[in-house]
Symmetry: C2
Subunit: 481 residues, 2 copies
């Protein structure tokens, strides 16, 4: 009733593969995404399981009710958030991993060694030693949470695992920039530091953490009797792709005996792009790094990675196996280095695409995304009705539609906020917005091996059309035009 | 270089499906698992990506180097830990999910609604209201962590998110049994409570939490000025499948104003088995429940689930969207109810198998696992050389090989510890051991829709053979026989 014969599996597997291949073939011309009809939404949300269905009918139901309503990131015209299309070989990696279905808590089976293999590669990219601590995670949030837990363990005055915060007398303080990702706040809250002890340091004109402001904040907190313990720098902010001054922050952390963490969830692998590489100088000095292969290495979600230079500290933070029971002849279990016990075989999709593409291939793919962002910026700069708001060294472009040079900032904000849903609903392109220095901007992030110049043109045309429609729909604005 | 044409994807997808189907056909007769040869281990652990390879060659490499060395839980003779074989339709669910590749952080796309659908089903199974908070997780560890974070938020004296533990004057205390899963300790440590404030309450002769001991511990802690805040009960311990007295614990939590959490990662879905259902009375009163569809619903890893009765409290614990910016016409995002921002489409595999099997079908499958455990226990009781050590109401059996009734406890311990690696290496069956009341026992857990009576016989034969070999290898013991 739940098992399938090998022949049934083959038949249904071929069907699923066919449906995916058909979708891949059609995708370039399809809307990036489309709203889910209300009746379908209700049907999908109703509890399954009351009645049974034939497996083939179920696969076909997926083709009719799920595949046509994706988030859209398989499309070459998707440039929202930081979501890449799935590498096709990575999709098959997930199929094969699910069929093996190991728990990669540890132990002597192939999946364990495959994960060690991909972790060795990631460590080498960032100049980490081969014996550094590392583990694949669900994504950037946990890839930041795990290192910050290790930091807490190392910086606590008392035995954090045993006594918790009950052994701490003075608040510990963490520093990130105003552009740092919200998952740093989530981690600070979950770990019991409290958001009031997470300082969001101002940024310079390039949206990078201000070193002077950081030093002042640390000094102020020390003077107030607090304990500065960690700087969580960004190697590629989500808003603009800014990379904080890593070497200088490393120096400051060394001077104040603070933990130096780098959130490279979006931008970490930008280090592979020759044009961006210099910005990462100093990352090899970090105590810990968070990266996301499911972003700029294009493997399907979920696949994040936490790196902690001091593997012993990482193990001490999480291992429930007392030292006297550890078998030093065997590899330690991954479950001793993180939060999960049962762990999926996320490594296989990455192992396959790493071998397919190769390190040099990734350098070219990532460089190409950055070059496309540069091209988009050139087009914006060459346009009278668009203004460039921000462009970091990576693949994010923030811009505004401004059809009339006399429009005031507040009007431009309102217009750019209002036109976004129209762009999204058009199916022509999918971008989201953000705020920079209090201004509303349109944000395009290219982590997409399918995007080409023509897609940039379609994006800008869609923005202009949505802007014009917004103005037409708004009587006051129309009169002004 | 990373993309595949639809035709290439189809060809390679067929190949991957064929390889999985061949493995499925061969599996019943293959060793449960086999050690990874040293040279292969070294090859798998070396960093990939230095050179590139043809995608077809890579898929074939998986067939040669990965598929033959699984953890073993696809085999009918695997009865270790709590790892089920993967439901074949669930494997295709992972394939399709990976091809769609959404982030199920939230938003208007099919994956969001599919997850709500399966969550509605899970809530209904446990008598939870449809508007309770729920989210799919990587597994049981995070499915326990999230509710305990909500508990901490609700029970903290001050504003935990803002001030962290810096606003707390008196230690909060959590209670679980000595048989509670180690992930409760991991959560207590990660959340900053400290393991010294996690009480491990003794169990009765059925391995269930002793209510008297629990009440005494709570009273002692209150008298000492500590704050008892939560009982984390087990609905199916991993060691023996014991279900704590849930109604009585609910009463006690109500009397002392404590949070009532139930860890049902292994056993939760045992509620669907008619023979076990009565043991779960009271679970519907829990403030939160952790369950694992990737255990007894047989879907491929990863798929856990956290349920929190008070959805508003769950959202208050995690949401980074200020209330004044929330859009009450749209569904809240999943990222407001947990730790992750980007989230994979874990729901699809569960949605497919739930519809294939149906609620009644799951009742029969789970009941069948319990019946097989009962049969194994009968066989042990009927054997002179085996003794039954523990058998809860679910599908775990703990037993010992004792070929000579005059052997002392210490000798039996040593023998049962020593024979286990031999059983595992035989490939005939895979079981692990545990400790119960200080004694070493063999533990067989059946969450396996492929296991039949003949496999139980092969397990017991393998245990006897391994035991005899162990004794032969040990001169002293041989003389005694």
């Amino acid at each position: 009733m739940i098992d399938l014969t090998p022949d049934e599996f083959r038949r249904l597997g071929y069907l699923a593969v066919d449906l995916i291949a058909e979708r891949m073939a059609a995708q370039p011309d399809l809307p990036v995404r489309q709203p889910v009809p209300a009746d379908l939404r209700d049907r999908l949300m109703s509890p399954p399981g009351a009645t049974t269905a034939d497996p083939e009918a179920l696969i076909r139901r997926v083709a009719e009710e799920v595949l046509p309503y994706p988030m859209g990131n398989g499309s070459p015209r998707f440039m929202a958030w930081v979501n890449s299309p799935p590498a096709p070989l990575g999709i098959l990696g997930d199929l094969l991993a699910s069929a093996v279905n190991p728990s990669v808590a540890g132990g002597d089976h192939a999946a364990t060694y495959v994960e060690h293999g991909v972790l060795h590669w990631i460590k080498s990219i960032f100049g980490y030693p081969a014996d550094a601590g590392a583990i694949l995670t669900s994504g950037g949030s946990v890839a930041n949470l795990i290192p910050l837990a290790v930091m807490r363990h190392c910086k606590a005055a008392d035995d954090m695992r045993k006594r918790g915060f009950n052994g701490e007398d003075f608040p510990m303080v963490i520093y990130t920039s105003t552009q740092g990702h919200s998952c740093i706040q989530k981690a600070a809250e979950l770990l019991g530091f409290g958001s009031a002890y997470l300082r969001k340091i101002p940024v310079d004109s390039d949206q990078r953490m201000s070193l002077d402001a950081l030093r002042d904040a640390v000094e102020d907190d020390r003077a107030a009797g607090l304990r500065p313990v960690c700087v969580a720098a960004s190697a590629g902010t989500v808003n603009t792709g800014a990379v904080d001054p890593l070497h200088a922050i490393a120096d400051l952390c060394a001077a104040y005996d603070m933990w130096f963490h780098v959130d490279g969830a979006y931008g970490g692998f930008g280090i592979l792009a020759p044009s961006a590489r210099a910005h990462y100088a100093g990352i090899e000095r970090a105590d810990s790094i968070a990266v996301d292969p499911h972003k700029w290495l294009y493997v399907p979600v979920e696949c994040g990675c936490a790196l902690v230079r001091d593997a012993a500290a990482m193990r001490e933070t999480f291992s429930l196996i007392p030292p006297y029971l550890r078998d030093d002849r065997a590899l330690p279990w991954f479950s001793e280095f993180g939060i999960q016990q049962t762990r999926g075989f996320k490594a296989l999709k990455l192992w396959l695409t790493l071998q397919q593409v190769g390190t040099d291939g990734y350098s070219r793919l990532i460089e190409n995304d950055i070059a496309l962002a540069g091209l988009l910026q050139d087009k914006i700069l060459a346009s009278d009705d668009l203004e460039l708001a921000a462009a970091g060294p990576l693949s994010v472009t923030c811009f505004r539609y401004r059809p009339n040079s006399e429009m005031e900032d507040g009007e431009i904000d309102a217009l750019n906020r209002a036109l976004l849903p129209r762009v999204q609903e058009s199916g022509e392109a999918f971008v989201t917005g953000t705020e920079l220095d209090g201004r509303a901007v349109i944000r395009a992030c290219i982590v997409n091996f399918r995007t080409q110049e023509a897609h940039l043109d379609r994006l800008l045309a869609a923005v202009r059309r949505a802007g014009e429609e917004t103005l037409r729909a708004d009587g006051n604005s129309r009169n002004r035009l």
